[in-house]
């Protein structure tokens, strides 16, 4: 008897469970798609960013005395918009919050390693020269707003300079990378940035990032850092010291970059919006209780002034 009962429950429950599961799949399938080419982007918009890519608080600079960017919090306008206090951001789906980041610097200072550590949490000891430009996309949720950082990792070799140069103009963030254990690479940073300044007529954020911190002794690191901070002041750049091998400061750096780029992007957007005429709001129709046909007819007649004819 008891066994029968259990069997009954299970047989009753299983189809129910199945139905439920199917329903889940169906709703997923029926979500509208833009077009086949933009499918991945579509997913990028829809899917939430990975858990460790949520930014709620504005990250601080590596050293407060080595940055021209004094910001330590999101702009009030931006937080207002993000919390939906003022006009809500009504973005069409294919309009993404995208900022472009470009990495430049001498050969083998560790640009690619830095990006790899951040994007894939991997560090490869073997050196492999980048050919042309590498490309990564990182999704963030900043203040619950989706944000995408395009990372263009250029090759340091001379023959790829022209390719790298073509990216300067559209870049929102320029990261000049040097090797903390090789001060020659710090000296050429100015040259790299000069190239960039030729191309970019916007005002990108500039970062001066020293890599391979792990391979420096305390002494040589201190010496390198003093020099780097000097250079950073000269270049009007924010200075960071990181290690892709140990992961020291890597995430902090990219979070800071993402937050600053996001803040600037939204400010620009808010500016454009406030200048532009307010978006048209179509007169809406509210639905309320239904009336009897007679009532409706009477109202209509009265409103159209046909009642006189009656």
């Amino acid at each position: 008897m008891a066994a029968d009962f259990i069997q009954n429950i299970t047989t009753q429950n299983y189809p129910f469970k199945n139905r439920h599961g199917n329903k889940g799949i169906m709703t997923k399938k029926s979500t509208p798609r833009l077009n086949t080419g933009a499918d991945e982007q579509w997913n990028m918009i829809r899917a939430k960013a990975k858990k460790d890519r949520n930014i709620e608080a504005f990250p601080r600079a590596y050293r407060d005395d080595a940055t021209p960017y004094a910001m330590s919090a999101f702009s009030p306008k931006v937080t207002d918009v993000c919390s939906g206090k003022n006009a809500k951001l009504t973005k069409s789906d294919n309009e993404l919050n995208i900022s472009k980041l470009i990495l430049v610097g001498d050969v083998s200072v560790g640009k690619t390693s830095l990006v790899h550590k951040f994007c894939h949490d991997l560090f490869n000891r073997d050196y492999k020269a980048t050919i042309g430009v590498d490309f990564e996309v990182e999704r963030f949720d900043i203040l619950d707003i989706p944000f995408t950082l395009q990372i263009w990792d250029t090759a340091g070799q001379e023959r790829f300079r022209c390719i790298a140069a073509s990216y300067y103009r559209g870049a929102n963030v320029i990261v000049v990378v040097f090797d903390l254990s090789d001060l020659k690479s710090l000296e050429s940073c100015k040259r790299w940035l000069d190239d960039a300044a030729d191309g970019n007529n916007g005002t990108p954020y500039v970062f001066l990032v020293g890599t391979k911190r792990d391979s420096c002794s305390t002494d040589s690191f201190r010496r390198a850092e003093t020099k780097a901070i000097e250079t950073a002041r000269e270049l009007k750049a924010e200075y960071w010291a990181v290690s892709a091998k140990t992961g020291d400061n890597v995430q902090e750096l990219f979070f800071r970059i993402a937050s600053m780029a996001f803040d600037a992007l939204l400010l620009r957007e808010i500016d454009v919006r406030s200048n532009a005429p307010p978006p048209p709001i179509a007169p809406s129709i509210k639905l309320t209780r239904r009336k009897t046909p007679r009532q409706l007819a009477l109202r209509l007649l009265r409103r159209t002034k046909c009642w006189k004819a009656l």
Partner: protein, 756 residues
């Protein structure tokens, strides 16, 4: 349970009867219970019996299982001992096999020793090499041990020494013979001897020797080709094709590819899979050397790098002096053919490298290696292909190409802009078509180079040129155009009836107006072109570069997205131009038109209403005037621009009209009249634009609706959304009260009493 009722003495009769009844009931109940218990009795007895039976069988079961356990234990023991024996046997068998192998080896050794001697004497090198190959497969230390066992060390040592000798001498002979065959170009012998090397475990030596031979072949061929080419280049009479160097490099890489194609089966059969990379690596060094020569010749003859350097210097100079406008030292037209040649050269080399990659991949696939090994091999191959001198040279070439192409694009664009013309019937100027022609041409040329990074770089440049150079130029042209300023002068002159104190050149005015409107249309059409360009390029990319990696595709897709995003820059231009057009030219003229409304009374009787019905006092005329005002722009502007203009004008009319409306008094019929007027105006404006103008008219329509109510009760009904379909009000409650007070037939205290 004994019943404990109250003593009988206190009981009433009725109570007694009741008690009795209760007792009877209880009795019946008990009887039923007993009955049911009795019914269960046989069942319980049955179960009891069953249980008894089960107990008996359980006892049997226990005995049986004990027996079984014993049996199993016994079996296990037996199996253990048997398997031990088998293991023993297995070991013995293995040893026997090993011994057999040794015996065989020793027999073979003798056979080989004899065979080698004979074969060497007869100069049958294949046979000799076969014997040596067999010998090399044996494990010498094992041979020694078996020889020790058999106490035959001496004879074994002798044959080993003999074989080693034979190996050495065969090696020298083969090498010598091979060299000789290579020198005399005796191909049949070369191939014959080439097969012998792997038998002697000399894979690398064989490959190297053979490749040196092939390389010298390639070098010879390339040398004659280059000499011929140089002769052709120096001879001024000979006709030279503009893709001369493309043909040259194509010939070279085709020659190399042919060699690979021809000897790949040979290498694979006699050297085994996995040696092709080695083989190709050897060949590539020569290919690199010769390819470099060709590219050098190209760079020298066409002054490619020199020009790129010149351009860089030029750009830097103009950037510093900021005088604007590059002094065209180099004519972009001259560069056209050069750029085509450079891109095509890259295409051919890319094709060749892809061919090599395919060959190597199939070679790797033939090996059954682990995934990790395969990955390592792939890594090695990719590093080889992208790091070889030829690739590096081409990368340098593409770098210079990007510089020159950007210059070409920028200069051609400047030229197109400077040569702009507005043709009589065209809505746009010629420059927009020219500019997009140039951009499209450059991007397509980049696409044909098959270099993904080159394509992305040119796309980046195109985006910034279109945004910064073209859109900004349009913006500046609109800003500096005198048309708008003149028109203000003109209208002021007209309205103040001062005559023309400063003579206005009507010809210039006409020209300016035409240019202004054409540039507005240019900006508008640019957005369309950009969108279309992005779409066609996306399809072209997938058709021209079908087998690039997903990563590269993503790169191009993201860069293309920037191209379509450049429409924003043109949108800004359009918005600026249209709003200026509106404020300077149309807005001042709308005001007097709306003023006509003021002279039409809306506080009217039945008779007046009838008269208005017969001869429209305001709106017909107004619509006519607006139509004449807009008429010119409807033909001179593109549809979307005109729509935008109408949107501005509509908003202005609605705004002005609302002000005028609020200044008048209305009777019931006056309200109806106003409603009619607003409706027909809206109808007209909606008819000339494809955008909805309704939202601009939302307020004025609502004002008319309020003024058109029958009574305050109806208004209340209209306002209060508790029933029926309600409007989303753009009018605040206090404004509504104010509007209602314009009605001469509503009392103000009643209006005040309304609950809004």
């Amino acid at each position: 349970m004994p019943r404990q009722g109250p003593p009988l003495a206190y009981m009433h009769r009725d109570e007694a009867v009741q008690a009795l009844e209760k007792l009877i009931q209880e009795e019946e109940q008990l009887a039923v219970e007993i009955e049911s218990l009795l019914i269960k009795k046989p069942e319980i007895q049955k179960t009891e019996k069953e249980l008894q039976e089960i107990r008996e069988s359980l006892a049997v079961l226990e005995a049986d299982s004990q027996h079984m356990t014993q049996t199993l234990a016994f079996s296990a023991q037996l199996a253990e001992s048997v398997s031990g024996k088998i293991r023993h046997l297995d070991r013995a068998k293995q040893r026997v096999e090993e011994s057999l192998q040794r015996i065989e080896d020793i027999l073979d050794l003798r056979f080989c020793t004899e065979g080698v001697q004979l074969a060497m004497q007869n100069e049958e090198y294949e046979v000799a090499a076969g014997h040596i190959h067999r010998f090399l497969k044996m494990d010498e230390s094992v041979l020694f041990r078996s020889a020790e066992d058999m106490q035959q060390q001496n004879s074994l040592q002798a044959s080993l020494a003999l074989l080693h000798d034979a190996q050495q001498s065969l090696k020298t002979i083969i090498v010598a013979k091979f060299d000789e065959a290579l020198n005399t170009g005796d191909l049949a012998n070369v191939e014959r001897l080439f097969k012998i090397f792997p038998l002697l475990n000399l894979h690398d030596v064989g490959l190297k020797k053979f490749c040196t031979y092939l390389c010298s072949n390639i070098a010879d061929k390339a040398q004659t080709m280059l000499e011929h080419a140089q002769k052709t280049l120096q001879d001024p009479n000979q006709k030279k094709s503009s893709t001369f160097f493309v043909e040259l490099i194509t010939k070279l890489v085709e020659a190399v590819a042919q060699v690979v194609e021809m000897y790949q089966p040979l290498v694979e059969t006699y050297y085994g899979s996995g040696h092709l990379l080695h083989f190709v690596r050897f060949l590539q060094t020569e290919c690199d050397r010769q390819g470099l020569k060709v590219v050098d010749e190209f760079v020298k003859h066409r002054r490619f790098t020199e020009r790129a350097r010149q351009i860089r210097v030029l750009v830097r100079k103009t950037m510093k002096s900021a005088s604007g406008g590059l002094h065209s030292v180099i004519d972009p037209l001259e560069l056209d053919a050069l750029l085509v040649e450079a891109t095509l050269m890259n295409t051919r080399v890319d094709l060749y490298l892809r061919f090599i990659r395919k060959k190597l991949m199939s070679d790797f696939d033939a090996l059954d290696s682990t995934k990790r090994e395969k990955e390592n091999r792939l890594k090695e191959m990719n590093a080889f292909l992208s790091g070889c001198q030829l690739s590096r040279t081409m990368q340098e070439l593409i770098g210079d190409y990007i510089t020159i192409e950007e210059y070409y694009m920028r200069q051609s664009m400047k030229k197109a802009i400077s040569m702009e013309q507005v043709e009589e019937k065209a809505l746009t100027s010629t420059m927009v078509d020219d500019v997009f022609f140039v951009v499209r041409k450059s991007i397509r040329r980049a696409l044909s180079s098959a270099s993904v990074d080159g394509i992305c770089a040119i796309l980046n440049h195109a985006v910034s040129l279109l945004q910064e150079d073209f859109a900004d130029v349009l913006h500046a042209k609109l800003k500096n155009n005198n048309y708008v300023a003149y028109t203000i002068d003109l209208s002021q002159a007209y309205y103040s009836m001062l005559g023309t104190s400063t003579p206005v050149d009507m010809n210039l005015y006409d020209k300016n107006r035409k240019a202004y409107l054409a540039h507005l249309n240019d900006a508008d059409v640019s957005m369309e072109y950009l969108k279309r360009l992005g779409e066609t390029l996306e399809t072209e990319t997938s058709s021209l570069l079908p087998d690039i990696s997903e990563h590269d595709k993503e790169k191009i897709r993201n860069t293309l997205q920037d191209l379509t995003q450049a429409t924003h820059a043109f949108q800004v231009v359009v918005d600026f131009g249209i709003s200026q057009l509106h404020t300077a030219i149309l807005k001042p003229r709308i005001k007097p038109l709306v003023d006509a409304f003021n002279s039409v009374s809306h506080d009217i009787s039945d008779e007046d209403y009838g008269a208005y019905e017969a001869a429209d006092p305001f709106v017909e005329n107004f619509v006519f005037n607006v139509r004449t005002l807009l008429g010119f722009f409807e033909t001179a502007l593109r549809k979307s621009n005109f729509d935008l203009l109408v949107k501005y004008v509509g908003a202005e009319i609605a705004d002005q009209l609302e002000k005028a409306v609020l200044k008048q008094k209305y009777s019931r019929l006056g309200g109806i009249q106003l409603d009619k007027e607003v409706r027909s105006l809206l109808q007209y404006l909606s008819s000339i634009t494809s955008w909805s103008i309704r939202d601009k008219f939302a307020r004025i329509t609502q004002v008319a609706t309020i003024l058109n109510v029958d009574s305050l009760v109806e208004f209340q009904d209209l306002w209060n959304p508790s029933s029926g379909i309600t409007l989303a009000w753009r009018v605040t409650p206090s404004e509504a009260r104010q509007i209602l007070s314009l009605r001469s037939d509503f009392r103000s205290d009643e209006i005040k009493r309304l609950k809004l």
